[in-house]
């Protein structure tokens, strides 16, 4: 098990402080969600069995657009 590694998974079911999280390819695991405010359907970052943050999907797409824009605008300046 990699220690500082955290992986993204999607919450499919919540039971109090624990959730069933789908890590893709049919891998379902129980994850402790005490540390986050998460709902079914959210993507959470899971580290050593605990969700430590919720992913903002919109933010991910905006980041890519922003990078694209930055790279473009600088090409124009050159």
């Amino acid at each position: 098990m990699a220690m500082c590694l955290a992986i993204l998974g999607k919450i499919v079911k919540i039971n109090d402080s624990h959730a069933q999280v789908d890590f893709g390819e049919g891998v379902l695991r129980e994850v402790n969600i005490t540390l986050v405010e998460a709902r079914v359907g959210d993507y959470v970052l899971v580290h050593a069995g605990y969700a430590i943050q919720v992913l903002e999907e919109k933010e991910a797409l905006e980041t890519l657009n922003l990078w694209d824009e930055i790279l473009r605008s600088e090409t124009e300046i050159e």
Binding site: M3, T34, G49, Q53, L64
Partner: protein, 366 residues
């Protein structure tokens, strides 16, 4: 959301790499340091160093939480195990060398050492065998410490105690920033640790040390864009803190996790294998949890241990002063299945990552 597909886009990667080449200094090389084993994995696995111009060097700092646990603390775990107490730990800890023995050696001699995947597993195990003493060997940075705090605050069973060896990252980054012979030019800050601690703890690096600092994620585009941003800041002469991993890292971090950590731990000076003692870098249990402190309960406290073994260069690897292939033992006497130093043990150890991906060093994102 397919993060992998989105953040591995080869076109965008190529465009960023081109920009990096344009921004790269002509003669004075630039040295950028990351402090996370997962960053080292991404960089090595995707051959990112080969996409960078020769004047841009990315080095690996002390980002492997398993590698930096000092031998004295492994010795404590071994000593407790010898008292017929069950030790539960993450799999990576098993082979980390102690002064004389690893936990795996202790296990071979009959000690009860169990691999678990989370702090919660230790609690479950302790509840199942109430008549037996168990210890959870709690290691890891700010990504892992909150989970120990969660369990500590949920009144764990009395037959469980905690051997706490957690460390926090920013003080180690300070040590690197102050190393004259390392002369860094920028930091890629560890994304997952940042999800917990937020951005504030890194402000000091641009402000006091003049080092551009970028919080980055773990896909190839994240790392490449991080390098690009640092080079841009260097060119502009305006070092600052930027967050490229805003999809999971918020300015304030995970406030709940911080609160729980503060409730359970205080901060003390702590030893790091290969780095010596770093001020305010170790988490220790607060007084009200003394009943759960394995060092008190099982009466072990070992101050000194043998951290390095003859010929091992881990102390240089851990700060990026040497590369694994510069160690004469690399892939000879020291291999993943028979590690000599701690950097070859943890899946996030630099030597281990290089050993596992050696054939891929020339690969690029495709």
């Amino acid at each position: 959301m397919d993060e992998k597909r989105l953040f591995r886009n080869p076109d965008l990667a190529k465009r960023i790499a081109e920009k990096i080449s344009k921004l790269a200094p002509r003669d004075e090389p630039v040295k950028i340091c990351h402090v996370c084993g997962t960053h080292e994995w991404t960089i090595t696995h995707f051959g990112i160093r080969n996409m960078l111009p020769p004047t841009v060097e990315v080095i690996a700092g002390p980002g492997c939480p398993v590698c930096i646990v000092p031998a004295s603390e492994i010795d404590e775990a071994v000593k407790i195990a010898e008292k017929d107490v069950t030790i539960t730990c993450f799999g990576d800890m098993l082979r980390v060398p102690g002064s004389a023995m690893s936990l795996l050696d202790a296990k071979a001699k009959g000690a009860d050492v169990r691999i678990i995947y989370s702090a919660g597993d230790a609690v479950k195990m302790a509840k199942k065998s109430r008549d037996r003493e168990l210890v959870f060997f709690a290691i890891g940075f700010e990504t892992t410490a909150p989970s120990t705090a969660v369990e500590m605050l949920s009144s764990p069973p009395r037959n469980l105690s905690f051997l706490v060896s957690h460390r926090v990252i920013p003080p180690a980054m300070k040590l690197l920033a102050e190393m004259k012979d390392l002369s860094l030019n920028g930091f890629i800050a560890p994304g997952h640790v940042s999800t917990v601690i937020g951005l504030e703890p890194y402000e000091v690096f641009p402000q006091e040390y003049g080092l551009p600092t970028v919080v980055a994620g773990f896909e190839p585009l994240d790392v490449l864009f991080g390098v690009y941003t640092i080079l841009k800041q260097i060119n502009e002469g305006k070092p600052r803190l930027e967050n490229e991993y805003s999809r999971v890292v918020r300015r304030e971090g995970n406030v709940k996790a911080q609160k729980l950590m503060k409730q359970v731990f205080s901060v003390a000076d702590g030893k790091w294998r290969g780095l010596g003692t770093i001020a305010f870098s170790k988490l220790v249990l607060r007084e009200e949890f003394t009943a759960y402190d394995a060092r008190v309960k099982h009466e072990v406290r070992i101050a000194e241990g043998v951290d390095s073994h003859p010929g091992c260069m881990c102390h240089l690897i851990i700060v990026g002063k040497s590369k694994p292939n510069e160690c004469p033992l690399f892939l000879k006497a020291c291999r993943p299945e028979k590690p000599v130093g701690a950097c070859m043990v943890g899946t996030e150890g630099t030597c281990r990552i290089w050993a596992k991906t050696i054939n891929r060093q020339s690969r690029v994102i495709e």
